[in-house]
């Protein structure tokens, strides 16, 4: 079979079972293991510390002895990538002032392509990754929001063992963003430039030093491991960090009326012309959904030769005609316009209705990666700039 099934990824467990029988079976075998990925400030005793910038490299190098440490590393041509540290020398390329990663770190838990199981002579062997301990160091607030959103998708209503194994040993260290890209609008979506909960540690840049906010027991334990590298924070420093956050928020210059956009979407109050214009201009590269920190759609396909092979899943998305085409050939979203609408409805309506959180974290990547400058911020500007029909 060259082509996998055309899937529409929903939210419910029955759908998930249908999609990934092996996943669910494997989960059932092992039993559901409790895993709290979110801890809030209320849960723990907030304890601010100080990390001197000159100690960062030592902290990271030592952390890397027992874990994989993913970091923003600047590569050839100035592209910053979120990659695991291999040797301390690479710390020379550490860039914590990057404006944005091209790809959000969702691919650490949900790679673009992954094998689910192998088969041979009727026997099936799941290819579940071995769990790993790792630190995501230098995340932006918006990207952590994205990760938490994807966590929910893969773990809340059903548990995807592949995702769980790739993510459960995770420690998140946010470095609050003071260098937003021109396409960022996180202050409009309340997802940055600093995050209020859901992190293990969050760093605030105070010049020569970082104020370290502890967001979870996990974070507290990590600091405990390297106690000698952390100092206590003074009141002045805590006060200063508040100012830094205010300044950082001001640096995000792109603003959109996000609440109004959600209202208009949930009330189905979107002029069709907006979707028509997007559909016409779109060149169907799929970039917006591939780079979206909260897009989780995937397709399944088999690669097989002489009765032996493997089943894979890979990133997929709603802008493609084949994505919603049914086996009969009928397609409920055949025309480009309704597919364009689907993407915005998903982010600003369905996600919101389903979870109370919008699927847009304000990172602006859909604009950055769009060859024809579409982007959700432009959509919202256009929508909220137009009169409501009511």
């Amino acid at each position: 079979m060259r082509e996998g099934c055309v899937v529409e990824v929903g939210f419910s467990e029955p759908v998930a079972r249908y999609l990934c029988p092996v996943t669910v079976a494997a989960v059932a075998d092992r039993g559901r293991q409790g895993w709290v990925h979110r801890s809030t400030i209320d849960d723990i005793n907030m304890n601010n510390r100080i990390l001197l910038k000159r100690n960062i490299n030592e902290l990271l190098a030592r952390s890397a002895e027992a874990r994989e440490v993913y970091l923003p590393l600047e590569g050839p041509g100035g592209d910053v990538q979120f990659l695991p540290l291999q040797e301390p020398k690479e710390l020379d390329n550490l860039n914590l002032n990057y404006d944005q990663l091209i790809i959000p770190p969702k691919n650490i838990g949900f790679p673009q392509l992954e094998s689910l199981f192998e088969f041979k002579d009727g026997e099936i062997n799941p290819t579940v990754p071995v769990p790993s301990r790792h630190i995501l160091f230098g995340l932006r607030a918006c990207d952590l929001k994205g990760i938490l959103f994807v966590d929910d998708f893969f773990r809340k209503n059903f548990e995807d063992i592949y995702y769980r194994h790739r993510t459960e040993g995770r420690l998140t260290v946010v470095v609050g963003c003071t260098s937003p890209s021109p396409n960022c609008f996180c202050t409009s979506t309340s997802t940055g430039p600093f995050i209020e909960d859901g992190f293990d540690l969050q760093l605030v840049d105070l010049g020569e030093r970082y104020l370290v906010e502890v967001g979870s027991e996990n974070g507290e334990r990590f600091i405990g491991e390297f106690e000698e590298l952390f100092l206590d924070a003074s009141k002045d420093e805590i006060h200063h960090s508040g100012e830094v956050k205010v300044t950082a928020a001001k640096a995000v210059t792109l603003k959109v009326d996000f609440k109004e956009a959600i209202r208009r979407l949930t009330e189905d109050d979107v002029p069709r012309e907006i979707y028509e214009e997007i559909a016409e201009r779109c060149i169907y590269c799929g970039g917006c959904l591939y780079v979206c920190p909260t897009c989780t759609c995937f397709n399944l396909f088999d690669d097989m030769k002489e009765g032996e092979g493997a089943r894979f899943r890979n990133w997929d998305g709603c802008v493609f005609e084949g994505y919603t085409r049914e086996a009969s050939g009928y397609n409920p979203r055949r025309d480009k316009c309704s597919r364009a609408a689907r993407r915005y409805e998903h982010k600003l309506k369905y996600d919101y209705q389903e979870t109370g959180i919008s699927g847009c974290v304000g990172c602006g990547r859909c604009l950055t990666s769009c060859p024809v400058n579409i982007g959700i911020s432009n959509f919202i500007e256009q929508l909220t700039g137009l009169d409501s029909k009511q």
Binding site: R2, E3, G4, V6, A66, R67, E68, L73, G75, P76, G77, G78, D79, V80, Q81, L83, P84, Q86, E90, I102, I103, N107, P111, Q112, L113, E114, S115, P129, V130, P131, S132, R133, E280, R281, I283, Y284, C285, G286, G287, Y290, N299, F301, D303, M304, K305, E308, G309, N314, D316, F320, E321, G322, R325, T368, S369, C370, P371, V372, N373
Partner: protein
Amino acid sequence: MKGVVCLVGKFEGERSVSRILTTCIYCGCGCGLYLDADQGRIIGSYPSGNHPVSRGALCVKGWNSYEFVNKLDRLTKPLIRRNGRLEESGWEEALDLVSRRLLEIGDRTGPDSLAFLSSAKTTNEENYLMMKLARAVFRANNIDHCARLCHASTVVGLKAAFGSGAMTNSIEEFEDADCFLVTGSDTTAQHPLIGSRIINAVRDRSAALIVADPRNIELVKYADIHLRQKNGTDVAWINGMMNVIIEEGLHASRYIEERTEGFAKLREVVKDYTPGYVEVITGIPAYLLVASARIYARSEKAMIIYSMGITQHVTGVDNVKSLANLAMLTGHVGFRSTGVNPLRGQNNVQGACDMGALPKVFTGYQSVGDKEVREKFEAVWGVKDLPAVPGLTVTEIFDRARKGDVRGLYIIGENPALSDPDSNRVRVALQQLDFLVVQDIFLSETAEYADVVLPAAGFAEKDGTFTNTERRVQRIRKAIDPPGEARADWEIISGVAERCGYKGMRYSSPSEIMDEIAELTPIYGGMRYDRLEPFGLQWPCPSRDHPGTPYLHKGTFARGKGQFMPAVYIAPDELPDQEYSFLLSTGRVYWHWHTGTMTRRTSTLDREVPEAYVELHPRDAERMQVIGGEEVRVSSRRGNIEIRVKITEKVKEGSVFIPFHFKEAAANILTNPAVDPTAKIPEYKVCAVKIEKMIKCGKVV
């Protein structure tokens, strides 16, 4: 190694993910992309944010370029035909057989009975070696590749007019051109990252766009004017535009005087092409032609963008020369964001031409007829008496093979059984050969005719360089090992040369090959791997300290003065008649690439367009009483296929279009092998076909 971040997992996960910067395998845009590899498998492809072409974006093919690499049906072992069947063998045996048989044929029937098809999908270094193998080892100039079938007319036409057959400008210069004349290029489908720049220019800063194309392509939506010429009447409308420009005094007199020659002759020839006369030939309303001429001539930074719709005609060279005339007439070449831009199709078709995988030239378009050039190559290659007579082209090679004159053929990474015109005749030619070697990553339709099949490494499995359409020489990098026993093409070619007793092809790495290319090739003189970081250099780059050249013909043309070469309109070779009443043109779709070897093995892409179709105008469909999705028989004088109908106004009434990606309904069974007399490019864009219903009253006929 620069450009490579290696990440070997040290912990229990045994994860070993690496991400390398490389260049996309699909079109000539040459986007910078990263490949993620995990345990010998490519698991993702992402754009580079700072690469001058991709800038954080890719098209759908680039985003999905990770999938085909690891398919289980990749070739992993050499195959040798025994008792009519291809059977696995070892490398020693296969390479011995290849070299022995090719030497035997060369000895018995002369070097000209051997031919070599190089590949626009492989690296510069590999094309260079294939060219060197043909010339230095087998003394044959019969080396060519698919550029013959796409831009041969450009290489000939622009070289004659300007002195260089390449795109004059850079891709980022599209961002501040203020007029685009796009003809015969479905840019958003075939060069998405260039097409998108045109869309942005039109929508966001009101640049002018004139589209001259018989089909209603995507860009028509954005065009100020759509000139919908009859297929194959390009010389006429281009001459018509020049007629208007001269009549209205919009030509650049000073530029013409200072920088060009041959204007008087041009004026003479285009005098007859009045808008009224042109309307009769082309079907373009006179007023639209006049308006287009004015917009183009009066724009400050005007670009001509063209592709196969111009080149794939029996008048391909005339078409190209006419566009060059138009640009020179208005002074629209030799400046930033202003010029003539043939968009090269394959990722490395520019490079394969630059490397001399062509029958008339060595690297850098240095003529095989030039004694001094030959002596230079003889000295470096350590051989004597390199052949001075130009060799055969792709189209001629298959003609001669059918006649029995060409007996041995070595093909790398091409699939002529599907991609060449009148493919039934190509298949006959392949069968006639005494010995056929096919080197590829999958068992292609062509490989099924081979005596020996050699398994090659793909773009993610080797180092090298590609040259994109804007002449940017840039690195590709090895992310994973090739599957099984597959080897990089450069290693295989070197192995063949070695077994033929030639000692001049021992290299430790592609970088060493590039050093040799630089030594022999003035336009590549400054190309060294250390200088290609991070995003390459644009030729001409003659010396180690030269920064590369973003646009050509600044101040003076490469040949000195620009040469006007007027052409008169000549009709296509085969036009519709009573029996074959439809005009067929062929091409590609956005989701697929050529013969589908890669894209039909990519789930997202193949799902989008899983099968072939023929585009038919609604009025024709109504007249013939066929419905969308119905299977019909499309025949030309050369063969027939069965194919589903797609009803669309994208084609004109009386015209049909078939994408050539699908082996199940191969468009090239129908196409006409008639060629341009100088460039020898076939007329893929025009032939006559008939369409027959297969179901009448519920019966299959």
